[in-house]
């Protein structure tokens, strides 16, 4: 799996756009909206390599923060100029409101691409990049408010270990969120999806990235991944409560969510 992502890293984003016809962006938008993070949240994004979730998270909390500040300012219409400028100063520093995201990935190349993207897109504060293994996270217990893993968990050899690690590093009250390819129940759609996956995706991989084999592997790993109910059970086994899932696009993709109580 490691070698697959080494060769895939640089063309990852291009391939994602081509394979999903850009829809993966919408999926990730919905994912972060479901997370609905408030300013001050500490997020751990695992297998977050090129930063898609992290950047969306930062934009989201920044806009929430802006609205908070605007509301605060409106309430302060009657204060003196001195008092207003003081509060404005201290708030200005916290445009993110202390929200931070740690992007953790097992692959150096993916992190490198992510860092470059961050620079290019102008994300500087509130971001850290850490090399780490989802099955054995380099973090202390109960550190994070939210744990996310988007399109990463299917590449983990021992999913149960990754889930247990997720549980460990989350604070009580913390939320586990997982975005992943899943199973389509509808037989007709399922046939069409299979046709597309097996016939078109490796071809796209060969044409765009010069790499048939990695994308063949990708399609196969999606088929092997546990379906929605099974994954839900695994998440519950790790200790999470109120576990549910939401299908996107009839089950091509599913968001699983659970809480540590």
């Amino acid at each position: 799996v490691y070698q697959v992502f080494q060769s895939v890293a640089k063309k990852y984003d291009v391939m994602n756009d081509s394979m999903t016809l850009g829809i993966h962006r919408i999926w990730k938008d919905i994912f972060v909206r479901k997370m609905n993070p408030s300013p001050g949240t500490l997020l751990l994004d695992v297998a977050g390599g090129t930063g898609d979730i992290a950047f969306r998270f930062l934009s989201y909390v920044r806009s929430v923060r802006e609205r908070q500040l605007q509301r605060k300012l409106r309430q302060q219409q009657n204060l003196s100029w001195q008092e207003i400028s003081e509060t404005y100063q201290e708030d200005k520093v916290k445009s993110l409101g202390d929200s931070r995201v740690v992007v953790c990935d097992i692959n150096k190349e993916m992190l490198k691409v992510g860092k470059q993207k961050a620079q290019h897109l102008g994300y500087s504060e509130g971001l850290s990049w850490v090399l780490g293994d989802a099955e054995e996270l380099p973090f202390d217990d109960a550190k994070f408010d939210v744990y996310t893993i988007a399109f990463g968990i299917r590449n983990v050899t021992r999913i149960d270990l990754a889930l247990r690690e997720a549980y460990r590093v989350l604070k009580p009250g913390g939320r586990f969120l997982c975005l992943e390819f899943s199973h389509i129940n509808n037989p007709l759609l399922s046939r069409l999806y299979d046709l597309y996956s097996f016939q078109v995706i490796p071809v796209l991989g060969e044409i765009i990235a010069g790499d048939w084999k990695s994308y063949q592997y990708l399609v196969e790993s999606i088929r092997r991944f546990p379906p929605q109910e099974e994954l839900k059970a695994m998440i519950e086994d790790a200790g999470f409560f109120k576990v549910n899932y939401q299908n996107l696009n009839a089950g091509i993709v599913a968001i699983h969510s659970g809480f540590k109580l």
Binding site: D194, F198, Q199, V203, E206, I207, W212, E220
Partner: protein
């Protein structure tokens, strides 16, 4: 040549259960079995990508493999019916740096095939090892034929006296198009000039391409020459033997 894509293809590859069987259909190392639909998509995609980014040599290779299903068997038959070609098919010689004795070739007298070939490789800073191995050809012998065609390409340059710049490559492509009938050569020769200046286009159209086409028709099949046994032969004599006229 798309009509021939309805050849027998393992149908199991369309579904999930086909994955295990796909490996058993691997006919040679590096072979990736593909369905007819995949071949069509690959042909179209590789053609578009090769036009968009001419440095994607792997795309040219893929285009050659996916569209060569008529030309390759006919090439193989030409080889089978010629004594030297037949021997090549039996012995399957490969041209790579590990099998060539570069020092010996360099020591050969100037004007000999070996010496001029090495001179060509060094002048243009190319190596025979950069040729893509075939992936999408579904016949093990035909895979060798296309591999041989690729490895002999540099010798074509040497015999035609063409450098590896855009112009030289296009001229060689036209020659190869007439010789092999590979659609990829025809497409390469026709669309390659898209990236050239008008002055070069003129030289190409008026002098070089007609000469290349004439040579292609005049010359005997270039895949039927056992180059590895002719390193000492003077280039001029080999040109005469095959029927290649000197460049304008």
């Amino acid at each position: 040549g798309k009509a021939c894509l309805s050849r027998t293809e393992p149908k199991a590859l369309d579904g999930r259960s086909g994955e295990e069987e796909a490996v058993s259909y691997q006919l040679y190392p590096g072979h990736i079995p593909t369905s007819p639909l995949q071949k069509v998509l690959l042909a179209a995609g590789s053609a578009a990508m090769a036009l968009y980014d001419p440095y994607r040599h792997d795309m040219v290779a893929v285009l050659g493999e996916t569209t060569g299903c008529l030309a390759l068997p006919s090439l193989r038959d030409k080889m089978k019916h010629h004594p030297e070609g037949y021997r090549i098919l039996q012995e399957r010689p490969r041209i790579r740096l590990s099998t060539l004795d570069m020092a010996r070739l360099r020591g050969l007298p100037p004007g000999s095939l070996g010496r001029e070939y090495v001179r060509f490789l060094e002048d243009n800073k190319v190596s025979p090892d950069t040729r893509m191995p075939p992936k999408f050809v579904d016949d093990e012998e035909l895979a060798y034929v296309i591999q041989r065609y690729r490895e002999v390409h540099d010798l074509m340059h040497t015999l035609l006296g063409m450098p590896t710049n855009m112009l030289g490559e296009i001229v060689v492509k036209w020659f190869e198009a007439v010789q092999t009938g590979l659609p990829m050569c025809v497409l390469g020769g026709a669309f390659g000039p898209v990236h050239l200046s008008t002055r070069k286009l003129q030289v190409l159209a008026t002098q070089l391409v007609p000469w290349a086409i004439r040579n292609g028709h005049n010359a005997s099949c270039i895949l039927n020459v056992y180059y590895e046994q002719r390193w000492e032969q003077p280039v001029e004599s080999l040109r005469e033997e095959i029927g290649i006229l000197p460049p304008p």
